[in-house]
Symmetry: C2
Subunit: 219 residues, 2 copies
DNA sequence: GGACTGTATCAACACCGTGTCGATTAAGTC
DNA sequence: GACTTAATCGACACGGTGTTGATACAGTCC
């Protein structure tokens, strides 16, 4: 959905107010500085001055390019999300027909990979959510996309008799997608009880399969 | 684990420096003000001055009772966690023998109920985690408790032949416990894709049962 | 009942991060 | 060479945090 990242003619509201001169370099410098610093410390430990210094400008000049520190992060997250959306489209095709286990694994793999390759940004986005409504809205859209995809898959599998009935497909999808988010976040952040990087996919795929195709009754 | 809440003789580091006079009222007033304000707005929108005013004291006096705003929230969360731990102990007994579905539901119900009844505090704790290491450590301990309980249950069920083998019990437990946390948080916060309050337990119990007792292979 | 001790209180201060204003410079047009 | 418009920054105002030092206000203790 709405990328507006390449559309340099249309100012995207988040970035700079309508320009085309050499200041593009500075804008990029700010974004790169932000990504670099986020590898070292958390968002709350980075000030506007740090970003300005890193880009070789003064703090007031920073505000010529971005309205706030949050806006910088949102711009970066926007792009990450757009990239991840690409993987998703692609993976959904694989999932549609053929071996469900392999298809589901491909889909979750792509998603996991997209965020793991830019851990720092993913963690910053999470840190922003509680205090920034724009970040919340953006993430809501992202989650909604995955949930509706997963819902469609579950319903299709039930329709063709491959999966048994159970909880409403959308409810199941919400819980599973939120599980993925949380498990991945914990692993990225290196939380104390968390899955090892190499185990994440095995465990998640297994739970998804059992939740979708398994029967609920214990022996 | 370590409550140190009743132990008024031992100053608990978080609270006030060794006292016993009428200032106890003020300490309680601050805690109550914090809980009250958290019902209205998020932690980041509450200042030390708000807490002081609410308790009828000046901002410097606040620092006589607590070293920071975070310390107030941590004190409250400490108590919530202690309460929740009580429920857990109790629920584990029920789970041990008899109908697994009913037992599991009881356990998850108690946990869900403990946090739902003080939503605002739970949300504040989550907001604190990214910026406060003490909050992270506290929550780590809480998660670890649930994870090791769940691990034990899964291993016991596998040992007695009620549950089939599968992913390592602890890995499964981590993912499931983190799912619960995330799903419950989303519901409390009223996030956009989130489960309705009345659906949460049905969905979570179902996924737990399928993940523990189900077989992974699709038809 | 006056000297002593520890609790409780707050005005004033120093500090830091944010965001804005106004003045200034450096390029392009035409 | 007068006119815009991009780009820059010093100086300011603001709001929040945490500390210091002075002070009032109990209660002992002799």
């Amino acid at each position: 959905m709405e990328a507006a990242s390449k559309a340099r003619s249309t100012p995207n509201g988040r970035g700079r107010r309508a320009t085309r001169a050499s200041g593009d370099d500075r804008e990029r410098a700010i974004l790169e500085t932000a990504e670099r610093l986020l590898e070292e410390r958390s968002l709350s430990e980075i000030s506007v001055d740090d970003l300005a210094k890193g880009a070789g400008i003064s703090r007031p000049t920073f505000y010529f390019y971005f309205p706030s520190k949050d806006a910088v992060v949102l711009t970066i997250v926007d792009r990450l999300v757009a990239d991840a959306a690409g993987s998703r489209e692609e993976a959904l095709g694989t999932l549609a027909q053929g071996d469900p286990r392999a298809g589901l694994r491909r889909a979750l793999e792509d998603l996991y990979g997209a965020f793991r390759s830019r851990r720092a940004v993913a963690l910053a986005a999470a840190e922003l959510r509680p205090t920034n409504s724009e970040a919340r809205d953006l993430w809501s859209q992202v989650m909604e996309g995955w949930v509706s995809d997963a819902t469609a898959v579950i319903e299709a599998e039930r329709a063709r008799g491959a999966a048994p009935p159970g909880q409403p497909a959308r409810d199941l999808a919400i819980a599973l997608v939120q599980m993925n988010e949380r498990v991945q976040y914990a692993t990225f952040a290196g939380e104390s009880p968390s899955l090892e990087d190499e185990r994440v996919l095995d465990v998640l795929v297994d739970i998804w399969l059992r939740a979708i195709y398994g029967t609920p009754e214990p022996g």
